[in-house]
């Protein structure tokens, strides 16, 4: 049982207009096996939360803490955070031309586990996981995300989640740009990974659609860099019916 605790997190970015505070005191605790949905309008800081936890250099933490089982995550480099058990499925996965998917996955798996996976089980695991996500086996010989369609990129992110078995996975708008079939396949992948590894999941989304496939235990509504309201799955239903207007009106 692990715990990822975000406490009073304040984050700024440098913009052309100067320093801008995006997160204004976020507090959130996720335990293994729990699924937390973070919902909110565009620009509310959802992605900033994801990237700040992962350690993207663009974001500066000015106040607050992030701990993983008591360890100070903010003191770790990006790769240390990943090795500690954090995983970020990106909204816009990056192309790394010339680095094959199979080489990349094996390198990542070796880094996360601290030892190279046994070749025979690795090949089998990879094949099985790709098959379950309906990925063409030939993808493994292509460059990472190179020329991938939007759906292929998202499947590739979830493939990594299944293979790397993180303690906590942050899924940043994994549902955006997916058609219904792809959404179902990707969601099944997330549920499978959760079941087999007991990961905690932080599901960031703009739409309630994905919550029909991945059932959240908690829903947090993000507005203007803070959690404006939280509750159970019923909160998502209410957002589906009412939209975010209620919160945006309040903050204006």
């Amino acid at each position: 049982m692990s715990t990822l605790a975000v406490t009073d997190l304040h984050v700024t970015v440098e913009t052309e207009q100067g320093t801008k505070e995006i997160l204004r005191g976020v507090t959130l605790t996720i335990n293994s096996g729990e699924t937390h949905a973070i919902m909110g309008p565009n620009g509310s800081g959802k992605s900033t939360l994801a990237y700040s936890i992962a350690g993207h250099p663009k974001y500066t933490v000015t106040q607050g803490t992030v701990t993983l089982d008591g360890e100070d995550v903010l003191a770790m480099s990006v790769d240390e955070r990943a090795r500690a058990g954090l995983f970020l499925a990106m909204q816009y996965p990056v192309e790394v031309p010339g680095v094959t998917v199979s080489n990349f996955l094996r390198t990542a798996k070796t880094a996360i586990d601290g030892e190279a996976p046994k070749l025979r089980t690795w090949v089998k695991d990879l094949k099985q996981a790709m098959g379950a996500l309906r990925m063409d086996p030939k993808v493994s010989e292509r460059g990472v995300n190179e020329g991938f369609s939007g759906g292929e990129k998202k499947r590739h992110e979830i493939l990594q989640m299944e293979l790397l078995k993180p303690k906590f996975a942050i899924l940043d708008e994994t549902d955006s740009g997916l058609d219904v079939d792809a959404l179902r396949i990707v969601s099944e992948g997330v549920n499978r990974a959760k079941e087999t590894t007991g990961s905690g999941v932080l599901l960031i989304t703009h739409y309630t659609r994905i919550l029909g496939y991945i059932t959240p235990d908690f829903v947090h509504v993000f507005v203007d860099g803070r959690i404006a309201e939280q509750g159970g799955p019923e909160l998502a239903d209410r957002l589906e019916a009412e939209g975010y207007d209620r919160f945006q009106g309040a903050s204006a």
């Binding site: 250099p57 990006v78 790769d79 990056v94 010339g98 680095v99 390198t107 790397l164």
Partner: protein, 391 residues
């Protein structure tokens, strides 16, 4: 008063005229001088179009008419391949392309004779021809002719190591229907100077690949020129280079399409790191009026890993007929992409390994096509070593 308004508008620059009106287009690439007479090529000042990127002041020894000593040579010649020599007179009768700059004409003039590598017609040696040339710190000139008989299929690997001030003219004359891969590897010590002119004459329906791998040397400048002796020929030039602090690596390509229905493809990639690391790539393609059905493409990519490095990239395409199958070029120079680094690190991969992956990936599209496994693995190891130098 604003800075703009205070700027003198007229008399300060009396020599200045409207740049558009005064602009005289460069002559056609076909009109550049080629000759066996040293006097036809004045010592470059650095202002000439073809020398403007090159630190000519450090190359004076190679422009001077001074005799040198030959590099130490070791070779492995498979069945069907022989080494011999030609006199200068016999060479002149061979009709191979002439020297095209000062360094090449001096190399021809000062080299004692012409070294000839013959590949017998229809020979298909399984092993590559391997020639390694090692410098021992001296001035050296070389004049080499590679003759490949018709329908032969051969890979030739030329390796350059050690320290030298080396200037060479290498001519590769390829018979009809032959298939040749020539790899030239520059792994000189950091003090070496190397100026080369490589002329490739592609026979009818022949396929030639010229692959330049430049990792070492203080200054390396290779001019690779391709022409076609008949229709149906195919020429591919691939290049990989890695410039460290203080290194100047220059690769100039000229593909002269005169025969119809020929193909050419040029792809050069370089990575640069360290203060004043400098790469230059100039890719000239000329499609003459007679070269109908030509299909050509050239691409240059430069990856700048640190501040203080400089990459110059100049693609030129000159087309005299509209009846072509295709012609294009692309050039891009970029900094190391931090997003790629973040993505890999976010998967637990440490920064050094991530950098290595990205740079290996950058070169992979070319390295994977060299087709000589010993060179491919050696090259990747060499690139890893270059990267470790930064850590």
């Amino acid at each position: 008063m604003s800075l703009l308004a205070s700027k003198p508008q007229t008399s300060e620059y009396p020599g200045h005229t409207d740049s558009v009106a005064a602009f005289v287009p460069d002559q056609s690439r076909a009109e550049r001088t080629t000759s066996y007479a040293v006097a036809d090529f004045p010592v470059p000042s650095g202002r000439e179009e073809e020398w403007r990127f090159t630190p000519v002041d450090r190359l004076q020894s190679l422009f001077a008419e001074t005799a040198g000593t030959a590099l130490r040579r070791e070779e492995f010649l498979p069945e069907g391949v022989t080494l011999s020599s030609l006199s200068r007179e016999e060479w002149l009768a061979s009709g191979a392309p002439k020297p095209a700059d000062r360094a090449a004409v001096v190399a021809v003039d000062q080299a004692q004779s012409v070294t000839v590598l013959d590949v017998r017609a229809e020979a298909q040696p399984e092993e590559p021809v391997r020639i390694s040339l090692t410098g021992e710190g001296a001035l050296s000139h070389a004049h080499t002719l590679v003759r490949v008989g018709q329908f032969a299929k051969v890979t030739i690997v030329l390796r350059h190591e050690g320290d030298a001030q080396y200037s060479e003219l290498l001519s590769v004359v390829v018979g009809d229907g032959a298939d040749v891969t020539l790899v030239t590897v520059q792994e000189w010590d950091d003090t070496a100077l190397h100026l080369g002119q490589h002329d490739v004459v592609v026979g009818r329906d022949a396929t030639v690949r010229h692959i330049a791998v430049t990792l070492g040397g203080s200054i390396v400048r290779l001019n690779t020129n391709a022409s076609y002796a008949g229709p149906g020929g195919s020429f591919e030039a691939l290049g990989v280079s890695f410039a460290d602090a203080g290194q100047h690596q220059e690769h100039r390509l000229f593909v002269d399409h005169e025969a119809p229905h020929c193909r050419s493809n040029v792809e050069y990639k370089s990575a640069l790191q360290g203060d004043s690391a400098h790469t230059v790539w100039v890719g000239d393609v000329l499609i003459r009026a007679s070269a109908e059905g030509t299909d050509t493409y050239e691409l240059n990519r430069n990856l700048i890993l640190t501040d203080g490095a400089r990459a110059d990239s100049v693609p030129n395409l000159e087309i005299e007929t509209g009846e072509i199958a295709g012609a294009g070029h692309a050039s891009a120079t970029g900094r190391f992409d931090d997003q790629q680094l973040f993505y890999l690190q976010a998967r637990g991969i440490d920064e050094d390994t991530a950098r290595r992956l990205v740079v290996r990936g950058f070169f992979a599209s070319i390295v994977g096509r060299i087709g000589v496994p010993e060179i491919e693995s050696h090259l990747m190891e060499a690139i890893d070593r270059e990267l470790e130098g930064t850590a």
